[in-house]
Amino acid sequence: MDRRRFFRILGAGGLLGLLKAKAQGLPWTEETFAPTKTLGAPLSEYGERSPFEAEVVRYISPNLRTRHSGADFAPLERLEGVITPNGLHFERHHAGVPQVDPKYYRLVIHGMVERPLVFTLEELKRFPSVTRTYFIECAGNGQNGYRNPPDPNLTATRSRGLASNASWTGVPLALLLKEAGVKPGAKWLIPEGMDAAMYTRSLPLEKAMEDVLVAYAQNGEALRPEQGYPVRLVVPGWEGSIQVKWLRRILVTDLPAMAKDETSEYTDVMADGRVLAFTWVMDPESIITYPSGLQQIKPGFHEIRGLAWSGHGRITKVEISFDEGRTWREAALEPPVERYAFVRFKMPWYWDGKEVVLWSRAWDERGNTQPTREEFFKKWGRNNRYHYNAIQAWRVLPDGRVVNGDRPLGGQASGPAGGCGGEVFDV
């Protein structure tokens, strides 16, 4: 469509909108503007969001058998920009959220080091600090994509909401390790949490020396308890499950632990029958958050909006297709486009009221992109639980309802496994 025609149509849509509002008889009376005549709320010590926003909350699956081991989802389609507000950052834990008194907080680094050390929170904060924006994504994000046939009631939240993005402040783990003096032969770190499950994982020393943060702040304030208060690991670009929260101890050693959550969970069953261990790096993802599943739109102008990220590096391009992948158009990326962080993509769009399927796919600086569902399952097993990053399709129906546009796969019906995927279905 040429520009002139586009703007003419735009203009028409706008005018139509105004006329409609008038027809609906918006009550522009004095009462509607009552707040202009009364004193508002007084100063308050900690700001709360408007009560009118109270229904913007994390999604907790109603089918969970416990709320002390599981995950909940950030409400992606209700958020703007790229930063996930602290109270809406997705959660995943294995034994509830511990309450840790910072007075008694200690971090011990020991094992293959010259000087085993114990740090207080105050000491950690005295080190040179780093603030960076990074996404954290559960390896199980996208697990609803393993459902076949696809869930018609899928939302952007339930599709990709086990990912969030925040500005993290902390001390580079490399500085703490230098302080302790890593001995030759050491290759692995085993970080341990202070939760009841004393959650552990294995992290190669090399990554720790590169860019891992021992973080104590999230979007400018102390970490939220769900995010590891007072101290957690932030491991840029890698699966969330390795970013140990409530960090109490780091064992420096020469072997990985092969802990439960890097063997029984967080290993990937491939289509060829192999099970892959240490699938740490998160492949590129994108999700259109508007218009998305269970939303309702009207004909006329819309800005298609979405989020993209990759654990391999910077997002270079996001494309949108209106014809199930035959042709692609490049969306605009809102700066700054940072490594290992959410990027907001946008595209102006005029919906003509005809049924259409929207696809998006992200590209990163290493040339990776997202597969279609069919391509994804050539490589990953149908019964795998993690790392689903196939293109999410949204179908806009003629009445303006938006539903899951993913295509069913042949073969067996299946449901997600729960746990880190955040949902349980009895199959």
Binding site: T66, H68, S69, H94, A95, R106, V108, H110, P116, L117, V118, F119, E123, R126, F127, L175, K178, E179, A180, I190, E192, A196, A197, M198, Y199, T200, P204, E206, R248, R249, T253, L255, P256, A257, M258, A259, K260, T263, S264, T267, D268, V269, M270, A271, D272, G273, R274, V275, L276, A277, F278, T279, W280, V281, G381, R382, N383, Q412, A417, V427
Partner: protein
């Protein structure tokens, strides 16, 4: 003399400058006290003394585990623990993944049960009880015989059938060429 003292000072300064002198040095003994539930490595490091017996394990399991994992480990309301000792295939549904068909390292079982079970009463099991439970669960999964002793020495040597399926993620292999799976 004065120059030597200066040099020594400068060297000390350098050594100090390379670090921030933050954090309190502790002995490994003190660190061990902080190490409430030591990590068990696949080569057996971290395993305490003691020995597990299937019959004892069966008794403890019935009392402390069965309510959540099923009388025979069949798994309701929580994870299934017992399965055929054949590795899973791509057609096996995730709810069927259990110790016998999915777990790749026997040491993980000791580490995890001591660390994280029973859910809601973590850290209450003695090392001896953990050994009994490991012995029972390995036996129930058809990995060991009823009289296989489970201890520091034997546990790391037990081969789990699902280990054959385990491979390194190719991206991890590319980034860390030195990395191998134990």
């Amino acid at each position: 003399m004065f120059r030597r003292a200066l040099l020594a000072l400068a060297l000390a300064g350098l050594a100090v400058g390379a670090r921030y002198q933050l954090g309190t040095p502790i002995t490994e003994e003190l660190a061990a006290q902080y190490d409430l539930r030591p990590v068990v490595l696949p080569d057996g490091r971290g395993l305490p003394p003691g020995e597990g017996k299937v019959a004892e394990g069966e008794r403890i399991y019935a009392e402390k585990c069965a309510s959540c994992h099923g009388a025979r480990g069949e798994g309701y309301p929580f994870n299934r623990l017992v399965s055929e000792p054949f590795p899973i295939t791509p057609d096996t549904e995730p709810v069927e993944y259990a110790i016998g068909n999915y777990w790749q390292y026997p040491t993980t079982l000791f580490d995890y049960i001591r660390r994280a079970m029973p859910f809601g009463q973590e850290g209450t099991l003695t090392d001896e009880e953990v050994y009994h439970l490991v012995a029972f669960l390995l036996y129930m999964n058809g990995i060991t015989e009823a009289d296989t002793p489970i201890n520091q020495k034997t546990l790391p040597t037990i081969r789990m059938p699902a280990r054959e399926l385990l491979d390194l993620d190719p991206e991890t292999k590319r980034r860390f060429p030195w990395l191998t799976l134990p």
